[in-house]
Subunit: 347 residues, 4 copies
C-alpha cells in the first residue's frame, strides 16, 4: 500500500505519519519525487481499510494498493523517472561534464572487458572519449568460469582505471565480486554488480548502504521480476541510485552467447522508475552484432549502452570475440549520434 | 562446394557443367544472381580437389567449400539479397502498387489474428491501408492449443480475405495448416507456414513446389540454423521466394509470451540472402510492447514487419491482448515512416 | 463441469441426459470407466448451478467443476487408468501374447531409429524379442532437419516392418508424418506422432478418428499442459487409445541432446488417466545414458519404455550415437526385469 | 596433461618431479588415489612431447592429455571415486556412526528449508533420524528473492542446529551465503554452496582453503561443465572434499519449479570422480513429486539424496509446498531402504 502525500506537506508531518505506521508494525519506504512524496508500507496491508486511511489522514492525497512484490522500485510507488547524475571530472583538456542517466539521455559506457595494462587502458580510454563515450568500463576483478583463466589485475587494475580517469575525465565503472572488496571501490564512480551476483543478496545489501550509483546486471537465468526484486534489496537499504542492465539470457540458441531480451527494457521501464541500459557485447557475444543491436537498443527506448572496446581485440585476455576495435566504435558512435538526435536524446 | 561461374557463360555450357557433376553422383543447386551464376554440389565433396576443378573448368571463375549444412539459402552460395516482389492489385481508388521485400524496403503486414467476419476484415483492411500497411494478414485456419477454442472461419475466411483484397488492393497473407489445404490457397499472395509447422517437412516440400512466396516463421524452440534448414527444404524443391520471420522463442521468462530474438535478424541476414521480417505481436504477446519493439525491428535492419491489428481488440476471438487497435497502428506507422526515411528505407 | 452418474444407469437415460445438455448448447464428452460413467460438458459452464443440477437429475451421483482446460484426458473426469491393449500376433514359434499399457505393466518398445534394410530390421526384431521387448519400433518416414539427410525407406520401410512382425509376432510402432500417409498406416499397430508434430492439430484430429492406439510424443518446447491439450484433440474426436511419451525438452544444456524431464511422467499420471512412457534415447542422445535413465524411468512409475536398438550403431543411417547394440539391450533388459519384479510390474 | 606415476614411488621423488615442472612454469595438481598418484599440469602443455616425457621420467608409468578444461575434478586425472567421510557424533542413545559418500552408499540428508525454532528443528531432527536420515539440513542464512521475506535465524539458527546435532548425533549441513560468514561455519559438518552462489568464485576459493566437505549445488542456469569448473575452483585451492548436487534447472516448463535433470547425475559421475547427490525438493517444488523422483534418483545411480522435511509444512516460513511431513518422509525412507538393498547400497 502506498500513500501519495499532498504537495507541500512539511517534513515534520511526514515523519509523524511514518512513525504512526511503524508503531503499527509496518516498515515504510519513503519515496521523494520531484512533484510528490509517497510513503509505502511493507508488511501485511490486507486488513487496512485504504479509503478510511486516506479520508482520515489530512496529509494524504490518495492511496493505492501495490500488487507487485517490489515496492520501492515500482512506478506505482514512485511515478517519476529516477535520474542518476555522476559528477564529471576535469580532463586534460580542462573540461568537465556530468553524466546523466534517465533524463532523456543515452550515455555510452565503453572499455575493455579486462584492464590489462596501463598502456591499454589509457589508449582505449582516450579513443572512446574521442568517439563520444561518457564513461569508461574495465574489469579489475574478473569472474571467470575457469580458475586457470586470467582473473584480472585486481587492485592494480583499479589504480590503472583511476589513472585513465585522471587523463580523460571519464568516470569509471568496474565490477565488484564480493563485499570484502567494497573498500577498494570507494573511488569508483559506478559499482557494477555482475550477472552472476544478481542474487548475491548480502552483496546487494552492502551496496545498498553506499551513497554511490550501482549498475545491476540481470542474471543469466533471472526473470525480469527477479531483477526488480534484487534492485529492491539495494533500495530497501537506502541507496536509490540503481541502473538496471539487460545483458542477455540463457536459452537453447547456441549461435549467440546469450539471447538479448529487448522486451525486458520496455517492461522494466513500465514497471519501474529506474534507468535501464543494455550490454550488447555480452548479450550477443559476437562483434558483428554489436552495432546493429546498439541501434535497436537506442530505438527501443533504453537509457544508455555499455559496449566492450579493446585496442586489439585479437589479443584480448578475455572476451576478444565480442569487442569492437576503436575504429568500429567510432563508426558506431557516429551512427548513434545521428539517431539519438532524431530521438531527441543526448548521447 | 560451390563454383561461381564466369560472367557471360552460355546456358548450354552451364547445363553441360551441371550434368558432369550429376553424372558423378552429386545433386546440384543452380543459383542465378544478378551478377553471376553459382553451381552448388550436394553430396560428399570432401574427396574433390577444389583447385584442380577450378583450373580445369574454363567456365568457372572460382570455387569455395560451403561449410554450412544449408546450401541454397546460404550467402556463400548466393551473395546477393533475394528480392521478392508481390504483384499489386488495383484497389477501389484505381491505384496499383507492387510490394517488395529485400531491396531496402520495409513493408508492413497488418491485420487481425483471425478473420472473424466480413465487416471486421474489411474495416481493418481499410484502416491499415490508410495507415500505410502494404499487405493484409488474417488467419482463416487457426492452430489453437485447445480443440474447444475458435478454429477459424476456414474456406469462408479465405473468401473474406479475397473480398478485402478486392476493395483495398492489399495482397493477402494467410497461414496454411497442412498440405491438403494448399489448393484452397492458390489465390493467396503469400502462404504463411506457422511456427508450429516450421519442421513439418512434408508441408515444406509441398510449398517448395509452388511458384508463390512463402512466409516461414521460426518455431518456438527452433534454432537459427534449423530455420535455415527448413528454408533449405523449400528451396531445394525449386521455390526461391522465401521470407523468414522471427516471432519469439520460448524461454524461462514468463512476463512476455515469448522472448523476441532480434539478434536472429542480424545473423539470418549475414548467413542467408533471404529477406527477414519480425512479428512483435506474437513475439511479445503484449500490446504495449509492439510499438517500441517495432522501432527496434526497423533499426536492427529487418526487411519488414508483421503486426496484429484488430478493430476491437477487447472482443477479438483470439490474441486480443497483443493486438493494436487501428488508432494505435496509425500512430505506430506515422512514427515508423519518419524513422524509415532516416534509414533510407521505403515502407 | 463433469457429472458422475450413478452405477447401473441405463444407456437410454444417459442418452437422454446428454441430449438435454446438447440442446442447451453444450458439447459433451462421455467417459465410460469400469466403475462409473461420467458426462463432461464443454462450453461456458460458469452460469450453471452445479448443486441444483445434481439434485434435480436422478441419474447423477455427484458433479465437479473441471478447472483444467483439458477435459476428456483429465483424471477429474475419468478417474481410472486407461488401459490400452494391442492384440498379439502369432510368431514363428506359435505363441501369441497381447501387449498391455497402463495396467501395472512396463512393456518395452525397441528397434532402430530408421528401417534400413530387410536384413537389419529382421535381425534387430529377432534380437530384441529374445531380450524381452514387446513391440518393434522403426521409422519408415523420417523427419530430418536437413533435406539432404536420409529420409527413410517410406512405404518399403513399412513393408519391411510387416515382414519383421510376421516373423517375430511383435506388434509395430511407426511414425506418421502427415495425414495423407494415414492410409498406409492402416496395418501399423501403434501410430506414432513425433515431437515435431505434437501441435499439428489437423493430424491430431485425423488420428482421433481412427480406432487405433496413438503414441503421442511431447514436443521439444511444449509444456506438460500443451501435451495434454494435444491428447485432448485426439480424444475429442473419439479415439481414447492414447499413450503419452516424454522424450526430453530443449534447454540451455548442451552436453545432452535434450533434457529428459522425469517429473513430467509423475505429473502426467496425476493429471491424466492415460499411460505414459519415456524415450531415453532421444531424451539424452547419448548411448551410455540410456541404461541408467531406463532404470530411473521404471522407478519413477512410467508405464513403459521406448529404446533405440541397432544391430550396428556405428553404421546407422540416423541416430547411431544414441542407439544400443543388441548385447547392450539384452543386458539392460535383464536388469530391468529384475527391477520390474521388485516393483511388481510385468515387462 | 597428466602423468600417472608408478606404484610405490617415494614422496621425495614425486616432489622432485613436481618441482621440475613448476620450474618450467607450470602449475601442478597432485592427485593421490588409492592405487596410484597422478601429477596434472596446468598451463600450455601443447608444446610438450608426451611420449618423450614418459620415456625419460623413470617414475612415470604413463601419461595422457586432458582435453577437459577441468583437471583436478576429472576422472581422466583421478580414476577412483572420491570418498567423503563425515565423522559421526555420539547421540543421546550413545551410538556413533560415520557418514560416507561415494562408496556404494546412499546417505539421505533431510530437514527443513529454514531453521525456525528450537522446538521445530529438534522435533524434525529426531523424526528424520528415526526414519533413517544420516544428516540434518537446515538453513540459518536464507537467500530469498524478496528482501521482505524471512531471511533466516542466522547465528541463532546455527546454534539450534548444533543443539539438534548434540541430541541426535546427526552431522549438519547448512548454507553459507558469503565468505565473511565462514568463521561462523567452523563447526558445521558440510558447508553448502547454494545454487545462486555456484559461480561466486571468491567464495569458492575460500571454501577451497578449508579442510571440510563442501556441498556444491548446480546453478539454475548452469551447465554441467560449469558445475565441474566451479568444483575445480574449490579443488584447485586444495580442498578435495566436494559433493556435487543436482537440484533442477530453469526451463520453459512452469508446472514444476525447476526441471530436475537426472541425466546430469550420470554425466557428472562419468566425467568426474566426485560423489553426486540430488535434491528433488527444490528440483521439482512439488511435494507429491518428491517420493517418485527419489526412487528415480536412487535408481539412476546417485550417491545420496537431500530432501526437505518440515514438522508442519503448511506453516513453514519458506518452501512449505515442497516439504514432506515426518510421516511422508518415514514412508519414503521405508521404500528407499528396500530399493537400496536391491541395489546393494547402504542408506
Amino acid at each position: 500500500m502506498v500513500f501519495i502525500l499532498k504537495a507541500g506537506v512539511e517534513q515534520r508531518e511526514i515523519d509523524k505519519f511514518v512513525k504512526t505506521w511503524e508503531d503499527r508494525g509496518f516498515n515504510t519506504i519513503l519515496s521523494v519525487g520531484t512533484e510528490h512524496t509517497a510513503v509505502c508500507l511493507i508488511g501485511n496491508t490486507a486488513p487496512i481499510d485504504l479509503q478510511h486511511e486516506v479520508e482520515t489522514n489530512e496529509i494524504v492525497d490518495y492511496g493505492k494498493r501495490v500488487t507487485e512484490q517490489y515496492k520501492a522500485v515500482s512506478r506505482t510507488v514512485h511515478a517519476d523517472n529516477t535520474i542518476i547524475r555522476i559528477a564529471g571530472y576535469t580532463s586534460e583538456d580542462g573540461r568537465t561534464e556530468d553524466v546523466i542517466f534517465g533524463e532523456g539521455t543515452f550515455p555510452v559506457i565503453a572499455g575493455p572487458c579486462s584492464v590489462e595494462s596501463e598502456e591499454q587502458i589509457i589508449e582505449v580510454a582516450r579513443s572512446i572519449k574521442k568517439s563520444g563515450a561518457r564513461l569508461l568500463r574495465g574489469g579489475a576483478f574478473k569472474p571467470r568460469t575457469s580458475p586457470y583463466a586470467f582473473q584480472g589485475l585486481k587492485e592494480d587494475g583499479l589504480e590503472l582505471l583511476f589513472k585513465a580517469r585522471k587523463i580523460t575525465g571519464l568516470p569509471i565503472v568496474s565490477e565488484v565480486m564480493n563485499q570484502t572488496q567494497l573498500p577498494l571501490f570507494e573511488d569508483v564512480d559506478i559499482i557494477q554488480i555482475g550477472a552472476r551476483n544478481m542474487q548475491n543478496f548480502d552483496l546487494l545489501k552492502e551496496v545498498g548502504k553506499l551513497k554511490k550509483p550501482v549498475l545491476l546486471k540481470r542474471g543469466l537465468a533471472n526473470s525480469i521480476e527477479e531483477l526488480l526484486m534484487s534492485a529492491e534489496y539495494i533500495m530497501s537499504e537506502g541507496n536509490e541510485q540503481i541502473i538496471l542492465c539487460e545483458r542477455g539470457i540463457r536459452t537453447f540458441e547456441t549461435m549467440t552467447r546469450n539471447t538479448l531480451d529487448l522486451s525486458a527494457v520496455v517492461l522494466l521501464k513500465q514497471k519501474s522508475h529506474l534507468p535501464v541500459i543494455v550490454d550488447p557485447s555480452h548479450g550477443t557475444g559476437i562483434r558483428s552484432l554489436v552495432a546493429p543491436m546498439s541501434r535497436a537498443i537506442l530505438a527501443v527506448g533504453a537509457d544508455g549502452l555499455m559496449v566492450e572496446v579493446h585496442d586489439n581485440p585479437a589479443k584480448a585476455l578475455s572476451d576478444g570475440g565480442q569487442s569492437l576495435d576503436p575504429l568500429q566504435f567510432e563508426e558506431l558512435m557516429g551512427d548513434l549520434k545521428k539517431r539519438a538526435a532524431m530521438e531527441d536524446k543526448k548521447i
